[in-house]
Subunit: 226 residues, 2 copies
DNA sequence: CGGTTCGTTGAGGCCCATCAATCTATGTGG
DNA sequence: CCACATAGATTGATGGGCCTCAACGAACCG
């Protein structure tokens, strides 16, 4: 059920049949889409704990690929088993829906970045988001992202990412290292990137006084069951 | 439970408490997000049948607003009632999850447009998508979209949208009219926009031979119940 | 030690934003 | 019915952010 995969490996291709849901347990990966002319847009960066393809549970989407950045350990579950579980346990069904909704919210944020922010702002926003999601506590965190990966995430070119990173460094906001990023001025970076740290913390709305909601399990990790 | 709203009205603001789910029954609307400096990114165009805020069911997202384009009739349901229904009826729970996943898929497409396509391609893609979603059959359809709305959807300015529309017209691909759009050369437009008509037709994956899946209701409209 | 990936730097140019003005259509009130 | 206001479409001029092409350096690895 769990699988170890090397770095830089496509473990789901666009053409694959979408019959398994994958959860990243260790390492980094990403979800991406390709245009006909070969350009790439990374649609989600996946860190430990993330569900790589939440929509596979109900959709024959097949519209994207999944690729590892580092060596990765994934938990893979057959879609149909999840469907059985979801039917029997409302808590699991709810968790699945919740994952999809988190995905939507994250993608909306990405759309704002891609559509309405400058390169500087996009990078600032991405770094704030990663720092937040990794909960590094420290302002320094491992970031195994190639400049080209950053570019394909933010709709830029690697050349321009390079120059923009240097710009941010020269302004004292960040200090990039090898596979490591240090945020020197978190406040300024958040302001620049128009980053709202709350949008990730969306607690489940279910627990606000509704009897119905109380019937659901409150665990955040309904999919971790073997 | 159903409400009629005039044109160009915010019926949900970013700051509103997110306690109702809205389904568009008639008219056009959109979901949008604002940046701190006042720029706007439209994150979803809503046509009759669309759920305006599927994520509200489980998330206290509140990160976007909803605004009408034309006079609109919406069906609004309290979030908590949907939670109760979802718990009792797996089919409804599944429909809710399904809506969220469709939303993700659509947003992924948008991200590709915003990140990796030229203005010409973005507009071509949008028009192909609208034509498909409206199932107009005909190549002419009502399209109550301001050039500024198109711009805010595609991450452009209205000025550039104007010029690009003229360009597409001069190339014989489209024929814009007042509140109406005619697609003159659908094949060329799809090719230009790299449009895949299948990505919208995602049938539910549940019905492919799984006993578990068969247990779910197959209706596409689990939310239309009063 | 040669190959490969990734980062870095430079020159040049285009796509699209910005600013601003004009024009049209629509509607509104007197 | 006309004067006026407003929203949206159109057009021009200008500039800049980012892309493209290209070359080189640096780190890593078998």
């Amino acid at each position: 059920m769990t699988r170890s995969i090397g770095a830089s490996k496509d473990f789901v291709r666009e053409s694959d049949s979408a019959d398994h849901v994958h959860i990243v347990l260790e390492g980094w990966a990403y979800r991406y889409k390709l245009t006909r002319d070969g350009r790439r847009q990374i649609v989600a960066l996946l860190i430990p704990g993330d569900t790589a393809n939440p929509d596979t549970i109900l959709l024959k989407s097949r519209g994207y690929g999944l690729r590892t950045l580092t060596p990765v350990k994934v938990l893979s579950m057959p879609r149909e088993r999840l469907l059985v579980l979801a039917e029997k346990h409302p808590g699991i069904a709810k968790t699945i829906a919740w994952l999809a909704m988190i995905d939507s919210a994250t993608l909306s944020q990405l759309a704002v970045c891609l559509g309405r922010r400058s390169a500087k702002q996009r990078i600032a926003h991405l770094l704030c988001e990663l720092s937040e999601r990794l909960r590094s506590g420290d302002d320094t965190f491992e970031m195994p992202l190639t400049q080209e990966v950053i570019a394909d995430t933010l709709g830029l070119t690697s050349v321009h990412v390079n120059r923009t990173l240097q710009l941010l460094r020269s302004e004292g906001l960040i200090e990039p290292g090898k596979r490591v990023m240090t945020i020197t001025d978190a406040d300024a970076l958040c302001r620049l990137g128009d980053f709202d740290p709350d949008y990730l913390h969306d607690p489940r709305a279910g627990s606000t006084g509704s009897d119905a909601a109380m019937g659901f399990e409150q665990s955040n990790s309904g999919l971790r069951a073997s």
